[in-house]
Symmetry: C2
């Protein structure tokens, strides 16, 4: 018998989530039956998109169920196995989530070899987050050398990788972030051309205009709201907007106002394309090869914000919407 | 010496244009010099996009200049020629606009053979309007047989051709129009599957939902505002929004509110693409061949609203924003 703690959704948040929306529950797991395995999670992924699954509506992923462990990315290790495909010590990636241990028949779990990389990187730069940045920028944005790429939430998990891949591809990269420290990291460590703290500028439009003297060819959207409006204003003709997320709107309690200058899509012949990483799993191998090489060459770096203990996962999640993460938000178990 | 009347922009409209924004001026044209020709216009094209050029801002086309004849599409005939490339009786298409006669060195004028088609059709179905519909739907929308295509301003010059090409391509076509008469024409004459008068429905969202039981795969945008919001609501995953125009916003005096549900672009992985017919001139020949065949087969029909006399051109233009046109708005000289 294994004692495991897990995070459940207790009530659906309205607006900004609060601790009350979550419950820390303790369960007793049976020993794995024939064909099953027992997995101990080491790290959990904490991601903004999970907010969407807390709403009771059909979307690209079904809504989270009440009083069930939250589904979320995790890195775990096989502790005990009665399944011939897995043996103790195997490292696993999966979406089985926000709990310390679980029993599984192995479906949906992917074995991987961590090599020299830190385990939690397989949730971030070497995992879904990295593939999101890679496929979004390269497959949807299609950057060309010398183009200007504007990235919102540029010090975030996805944004920071997008920014650095865009530099590798020879682009002029401008990033928006939510603190002076994050903006400084973007310029000094991640090596983007221009970065700013959007909370400290008088006029977002003016700043974007000044820092993108040749206009914007590709906008990588993580934020929505005024950032999208500013990007539309300075997009170059036939520019592309890669629509990855709109974190500023996830907790809206009334319908958010869309950009007032959306008519530029016509006048400038823009393409605004939404994408989900799930459609780019076929790029995984190429992504891992490229990313491994770039990391080895010292061309990609990243930040993590690590909270310890499953009991701190709700707080970590809520912190995403308050800019408390610097790079990828992770919970270490 | 030829006396010609022309329409000039007297002041830039704020909000809905009024007769006061225009001036009917009389000019005396000199005889054409060596290399020049004298052209008499027969028909002028009256188009919503011209509203954008009345604003003093840089866009895909330069703003109209004050106290100059408005540039706009016209069909004319060579009256006198001292240019070896043109001879009296030649029929010409050009953007030289809103005047009865003009002298030209021939630049930017295209000679054409009208054959059996009415002259004014070369401003509409057989001209720019038709190419806009054809390239927007086929090159940007990329319809497949069996898909649902929702068209706003579907009885308009562009919308009515889009709707019928979509039918030819085997799509389920739903059109929104601004009167019962227009909606009836769409169903009974143009042959779309469903059409409605948006001014008469209680709830645009409900109507769109009911008439598109399989969701929307392609939205052809001519209107903006609530139509765009309703389309976003019922778009199918990976659907395409062909952004041709947003007539509901052209006279806005304060920044219009964008769609509140733009986040569906991410969740449904939509592609929203603006386009201008100017980028599809290379499709002209293929367009003319296809369109000629479809018209001969009786598969494309169209409506025109014809005003007579250049003095009525401003009124015709203003009427576009009041839904006074049924199909293509034309001024006969």
């Amino acid at each position: 018998m294994t004692i495991s703690r897990e995070i459940r959704l207790k009530s659906r948040p309205e607006g900004m989530p609060t601790a009350d929306n979550f419950e820390l529950a303790t369960t007793e797991l049976p020993a794995p039956a024939q064909g099953e395995l027992l997995v101990k999670n080491h790290y959990m992924s904490v991601d903004p998109y999970m907010r969407g699954r807390m709403i009771d509506r059909q979307s690209y992923l079904p809504p989270f169920q009440m009083n069930e462990p939250l589904e979320g990315g995790s890195v775990g290790e096989v502790v005990e196995s009665n399944n011939e495909n897995f043996k103790p010590g195997d490292m696993l990636l999966g979406m089985l989530g926000w709990r310390e241990y679980f029993v599984s028949n192995g479906k949906g779990l992917m074995r991987f070899e961590p090599g020299d990389a830190p385990l939690q990187a397989f949730l971030g730069t070497l995992g879904m987050t990295g593939l999101t940045a890679y496929s979004g920028l390269l497959e949807v944005g299609k950057p060309k050398e010398g183009q200007t790429v504007f990235v919102s939430a540029a010090s975030g998990a996805v944004g920071s990788i997008v920014s650095q891949i865009a530099k590798i591809k020879g682009c002029f990269v401008v990033g928006s972030a939510g603190s002076d420290e994050k903006a400084a990291w973007l310029k000094d460590v991640a090596g983007v051309d221009e970065a700013f703290n959007y909370k400290a500028v008088d006029n977002l439009f003016k700043t974007v205009n000044q820092l993108c003297p040749n206009g914007i060819d590709i906008y990588f959207e993580n934020v929505g709201g005024k950032h999208l409006e500013a990007a539309l204003e300075y997009m170059n003709p036939q520019g592309r907007l890669v629509m990855c997320g709109m974190i500023s709107q996830y907790n809206a309690t009334k319908p958010p106002q869309g950009p007032s200058n959306l008519d530029y899509v016509v006048a400038k012949q823009l393409t605004m394309q939404g994408f989900l990483v799930g459609n780019y799993f076929h790029k995984m191998q190429q992504f891992q090869a490229d990313m491994g090489k770039w990391i080895a060459e010292g061309r990609i770096t990243w930040k993590e914000t690590v909270r310890e203990g499953i009991e701190n996962a709700p707080e970590a999640f809520i912190g995403l919407f308050k800019g408390q993460n610097f790079g990828k938000m992770i919970v270490k178990l």
